[in-house]
Symmetry: C3
Subunit: 296 residues, 3 copies
């Protein structure tokens, strides 16, 4: 049913708040969403409390055949940027027709629209707080909506708790969409803009490319927002971080244990690693640290 004339809208996103931003207008025909029954969850709730569990309870109560997969619940509290980054790099490994729910929202309880974004046959539900900007930048065309109050009333969630929207709004909403009871087009009116993203895109000044450490993984690898395509023009690229020049290699085993390297990782972005050790500890770098690449 692609090409059925569904409206597609330009969406502003992917620029950090406070940075002058050109609009990224994305137009064309979005790939039809056909629910697969799979729902992924990405939150900052952690697994210590029953918060994720009760979200799943409501999902199963609303759609007994739902398949729920945790992406991660360890996004740093109150920082949506990492959730959007991982979602944009992960969603294509799930079946087309998956509903991706992401709830990381410093402003929960205040006035905040819920964004429903269709892209590449997947549906994303998140607070409209910039979280989904990396997803939108990673695809050629999207259709974005704000979930309407009428839909929430229809789901019986018109008087949710002030603080736990994951359980009280997102879970019943995702259950209804994953079950096929609600279509994306039912969710609300398309919108032409979403709140811009939290992380500045990599910049090029002369022969120098500068990006940002977005996250640090379990192994201490520093993962940046510099993509393989950003590196294409560079001759003999050398990666600079924490005052060191690091060689660009293919994989961890290309250097000796304990040595540093940079590589394009399995998610297609530049990563700074230390073979069999933690690069983050060794270099003393954290999220937000700048990383540059120069030709040598």
């Amino acid at each position: 049913m692609a090409g059925d004339g569904r409206a597609v809208y330009p969406v502003v996103a992917g620029r950090p708040a406070g940075v002058a931003a050109g609009q990224t207008l994305v137009t064309g025909t979005v790939q039809e969403f056909a629910a697969s029954g799979v729902v992924t969850l990405t939150t900052d709730f952690g697994l210590k409390d029953p918060f994720v569990g009760v979200m799943k309870g409501r999902l199963v109560a609303g759609f007994p055949a739902v398949r729920i997969i945790d992406l991660t619940h360890e996004i740093p509290a109150h920082w949506p940027a990492e959730a959007g980054f991982w979602l944009s790099r992960s969603f294509r490994y799930f079946p087309v027709g998956t509903v991706h729910v992401a709830v990381v929202d410093p402003g929960v309880g205040g006035a905040r629209a819920i964004a429903a974004v269709e892209a590449a046959g997947h549906l994303f539900l998140a607070p409209d707080n910039g979280l989904l900007a990396p997803v939108i930048e990673s695809v050629s065309v999207v259709c974005a909506r704000h979930v309407s109050g009428a839909v929430l009333v229809r789901l019986g969630v018109d008087a949710p708790s002030a603080t736990f929207h994951g359980r009280d709004i997102f879970a019943p909403l995702a259950a209804a969409v994953a079950a096929g009871r609600l279509l994306p087009a039912d969710l609300g009116d398309p919108v032409g803009e979403l709140v811009p993203g939290w992380i500045e895109e990599p910049t090029v000044v002369g022969a120098q490319l500068t990006g940002t450490v977005v996250t640090i993984d379990h192994f201490g690898n520093l993962i940046t927002n510099i993509e393989a395509r950003h590196l294409e023009g560079l001759v003999h690229p050398v990666v600079r971080a924490a005052g060191r020049d690091l060689p660009l290699r293919r994989t961890y085993s290309d250097v000796r244990p304990g040595d540093y390297l940079a590589l394009v990782n399995s998610f297609g972005v530049l990563e700074i690693a230390r073979a069999e050790r933690s690069a983050a500890e060794g270099l003393g770098l954290a999220r937000g640290a700048p990383v540059t690449v120069v030709s040598k």
Copy 2:
């Protein structure tokens, strides 16, 4: 099939050991349990070891279509009170007919009955060590049983390991109940008392209400056992904790980042929070700390 004459029994619970306790007698007709196929797990096992995984292995081996949902596995080791608290606040978000398994038991390996409690159409399985007291207090009527040795023999678990009852007793038991092979009435004889709970109920002295910090969540919010209904009689309530007077607000975004507040949270209990920060770290409070509410 409610009202079919099933016996319902008073249960003593909800009073801390060592505190003179009036019996809470709960009588009436319990809502029929009809298995939904969903099982929740609440333990102190953590996720580092394969303990939860092998429990799930036995559940799936015993009932291939089971739907398993983790509530939490990070209950503080050897403190059942928190498990019961979260269960009592969470179980209604799961489908009626869910089997809730909770295993937190300092006395594992010693003599200990297994409690099977029917309430509100749900079934709870836990060591009879006070864990389920908060669940029992949260409902109007329950039917409590001790699981009989005959049932364990029938399940082939009459010689379980001395130390891993979650895998060797609770998992096959829950699988049989979730699959509908065992009905609650098959589990054993009803009992009139269970071991009392671990946390004292909030007390009122004059115009002052005193409760307890039961748990600290992932965000550092201090969660108490004071319920919204306890606050109803108070005019201009002010919450006192760690020597501070905290305003009672509706939600986190009602104060500025860094400010403290108290609120009735999304689970219906009083919580002390700090907007976008950790109240627990800021106030230096831990589980068991007293919290008072006064009229001002």
Copy 3:
């Protein structure tokens, strides 16, 4: 279909690198593998990042009805020994026909075969780096294969990422086997040897048995590779660790809170524990520490 003449091969395993090893030859007829649809996952990926989530995405994409159970994702990074130990002690609690995927591989990205081991009606997939040695030692007969390049081409994973084999190779492979689209015999040619294991088997010198702390669980219990059968010949066995003599008891509640004990735990191996406390913290012992047992 047991006894259908399938070739069964001797496998070398279970000896630490650098230790002169006699081959353990295992012969006989392996129990037929009939897929149950269940897949377990054991990795060193942690749950902080979306690595486990995207593996599950590919599993569900490849086999929508798959039942996925996490064994653990907290194996110490780059140390396969613990993964194999837990798998060998856990797999029998899962249904026959389960596919067990274990990915802990310091050498990822370098040349490394993928081992597919059939044993006791289960199938194990792991890097051939010694990880599966404890599984092989725990069963009477196995059939081991190296997954062929032809199978990977057939699965469309012939050009995987250099660093994320869990997602790019193991997940689609496990999905195909769990779905019954690939039989173990399709996976590749049988091999007569696998890379030996990482931990030395317990040794007996005179009346003294010496083993190793393999892992420390969530409760701080020190878990060794000394099995109940190793203790059988000993009269009045006493366990020595960290310069202390510890009594061998049946269960934790056989000593007072705070006291140390040794016991054969629920996984059938010798464990050093401290009632209601952490033995690891109390004794200052870590993985790899020697533990001896003497007759007294």
